[in-house]
């Protein structure tokens, strides 16, 4: 048994090389930069500088954007999943294709398209004006950043929830109905708890990247609003202060890891409860 297992895990070899070369080694390099200053002396100042007012402000703004986007994604995704999971396979497949379609397009192109739509002389205002309403300008605001982020990450919320919901055994639901459970009870006691693992992975896949999508902030925020990702980018590219940039990345990573352990623990607990 052991031998078979050993051989099998050798199959992971190609990926291990990939992971070591492009995840582990870069991570080590980043941590190395983070804990030294420019002169090469050990310091925690780079990591702790996340608490400097300017950085903290960007972090809080990133959190607000990320929370908002995650919430909107959940509110849009969950009902959608409930609807399409009931559809016959062919139709639900169609819906999923439509959902995934934008993911095949380049991310920057999508952002530039949104910029065209949202700008003051853009498509949106053109329509609004032609309908005789007063135009409104949401370009270069947090709202327009959120629209870009939601558009980008929405499928990452839908797919895991869809997976979890379609994996629920019909028999379990029928058993509950046989025992006299009403629709709402079935949903809150059966469907929702069983879909939680999907919801949780959806949250991690949307929340974390939306905190750092600095390109979105640059293009749709007009360079006036900064996510923590913009600051890290500036430190690396413009200020040439790799140590500070790496320190902020590490601080962000610590932050994300803490919130992940929270969701993962919750995940497991909920699963136990459900059964």
């Amino acid at each position: 048994m052991d031998k078979v297992l050993g051989k099998r895990s050798a199959l992971a070899g190609p990926y291990v090389i990939w992971a070591v070369g492009f995840t582990v080694i870069p991570l080590v390099v980043i941590i190395k930069y983070a804990v030294f200053d420019r002169s090469g002396a050990f310091t925690l100042a780079n990591i702790l500088s996340i608490f400097a007012p300017v950085h903290l402000k960007a972090l809080i703004f990133s959190l607000e954007i990320a929370l908002g986007c995650t919430l909107v994604c959940i509110l849009l995704a969950y009902p959608l999943v409930l609807a399409i999971s009931r559809l016959k396979f062919a139709r639900s497949g169609m819906m999923l294709v439509i959902l995934i379609l934008p993911m095949w397009m380049n991310f920057i192109l999508k952002l530039l398209a949104w910029q065209m739509i949202l700008s003051s002389n853009g498509v949106l205002n053109l329509i609004i004006r032609s309908l005789g309403f007063a135009e409104f300008d949401i370009s270069n605001t947090p709202l327009s950043i959120m629209i870009g982020v939601i558009y980008e990450y929405f499928p990452y919320m839908v797919l895991p929830i869809y997976d979890a919901v379609t994996a629920i055994d019909e028999d379990v639901i029928e058993a509950a109905r046989d025992l006299g459970a009403k629709k709402a009870t079935v949903f809150w006691r059966i469907v929702f708890p069983l879909s939680l693992p999907g919801l949780m992975s959806g949250i991690t896949m949307v929340f974390v990247p939306s905190m750092t999508s600095f390109v979105t902030a640059d293009i749709l925020g007009g360079g006036k609003l900064q996510l923590v990702g913009n600051i890290i980018e500036q430190e690396f590219i413009h200020s040439m202060n790799w140590n500070l940039g790496a320190g902020l990345s590490v601080a962000l990573m610590i932050f994300v890891l803490i919130s992940m352990t929270f969701t993962i623990n919750k995940d497991e607990r909920e699963e136990e409860e459900a059964w």
């Binding site: 090389i17 370009s139 360079g223």
Partner: protein, 350 residues
């Protein structure tokens, strides 16, 4: 146990690959060229390879800072760089450049004397750099949306055009024009003057529609913004797309910049590098590049080969009077740079 050895082996293998991966490859017949985006007609690269058999590996960056960061990290051995005045000065100071052997050149004299003098601001003996394109920083504005002609930076700061202004998303350009507006030198290292400029920019921020780089021109062309701070070359194209647009170098003066080519210390094949630079100076190549980029060229043969109307375009071939109050940026003081970067971050955070 075996598993662990395996992992260790893979780790070592990857390390070795990643360390030796940077080693120089066939440098005899290849040049690695680093340039700004859309700053060389790609057909010219093909033509050069066809004529000489020398292959070009071509890389692009958006800003001098990005270029410097990539160059300094040493991951790629660049042979030739094209970058801007103050960055050239910094590279010369850091002893990163090789003297260019002009005795190998045939077309060097196509570059006007004026521009060699201009280069002396950062390369005092004209030893390290070859002028490529130059221009000014000014305001591109929509004449149908402003009253009369604009001639001062004041329009960006007096609040009259609140929400209709696009600024350059670059520390340097933002500070340089503000310093000129306040009557300082754009190379100032005076803390109080820099602080004043910061406060002026901070006060201006609510009036700014967006800080953009490449899209700045397009926003004015599309009518989303009334005016934008742009480089002179953008102005020419802006005017082509929308004839209501005008470009002005404000009377307080501005930044006049020069982008030049240089050969790095890494370069193994300086003869090939010189061949490439000489090729860029050649009449037909310079003309093709000019027609691709539309920035002001120091190559005097280009103007002679242009149609009459383009020859008189003031944004491309400004009079000497237009650049009278302008300065070349030669600021390389690291402390000032750090201060500017910090203030820029503060500005964006506010």
């Amino acid at each position: 146990m075996k598993q662990r050895k395996m992992t260790a082996l893979i780790l070592v293998a990857v390390l070795v690959i990643s360390l030796t991966g940077c080693a120089k490859e066939d440098s005899a017949n290849t040049l690695t060229v680093f340039n700004y985006g859309e700053y060389l007609d790609p057909d010219m690269i093909k033509l050069f390879t066809k004529e000489t058999g020398i292959k070009i590996k071509y890389e692009e960056a958006a800003t001098p800072e990005e270029m410097y960061t990539k160059f300094k990290s040493g991951a790629i051995g660049y042979d030739l760089l094209c970058t801007s005045d103050y960055m050239l000065k910094r590279l010369i100071n850091e002893n990163e450049l090789r003297e260019i052997d002009y005795s190998l050149f045939q077309y060097k004299d196509n570059i006007g004397k004026k521009y060699w003098d201009f280069s002396k601001a950062f390369d005092p003996e004209n030893k390290y750099t070859l002028p490529y394109f130059w221009g000014t920083v000014g305001i591109l504005y929509d004449t149908t949306k402003v009253a009369g002609k604009i001639d001062s930076w004041d329009v960006l700061f007096n609040g009259e055009y609140s929400g209709q202004i696009v600024m350059q998303n670059s520390v340097r350009d933002a500070f340089m024009i503000t310093e000129k507006y306040l009557g300082y030198s754009l190379n100032t290292t005076d803390r109080d003057e820099i602080q004043k400029a910061y406060e002026t920019l901070l006060k201006q921020k609510p009036d700014v529609q967006a800080y953009l780089v490449d899209e700045a021109r397009d926003e004015v062309v599309a009518g989303n913004a009334t005016m934008a701070v742009v480089y002179s070359g953008e102005a020419y194209l802006g005017h082509k797309y929308n004839s209501d647009l005008e470009y002005v170098v404000p009377k307080e003066g501005s930044n006049v910049w020069l982008d030049s080519w240089c050969i790095t210390k890494n370069c193994q094949n300086t003869e090939a590098a010189c061949k490439f630079l000489d090729f860029l100076c050649r009449d037909d190549v310079a003309l093709k590049n000019f027609e691709y980029i539309f920035y002001s060229t120091p190559n005097e043969t280009v103007k002679e080969n242009l149609p009459e109307e383009d020859r008189n375009d003031k944004s491309m071939f400004p009079d000497d009077s237009a650049t009278e109050n302008c300065e070349v940026c030669t600021l390389t003081d690291p402390e000032t740079n750090e201060l500017l970067n910090k203030l820029w971050k503060d500005l964006k955070a506010n």
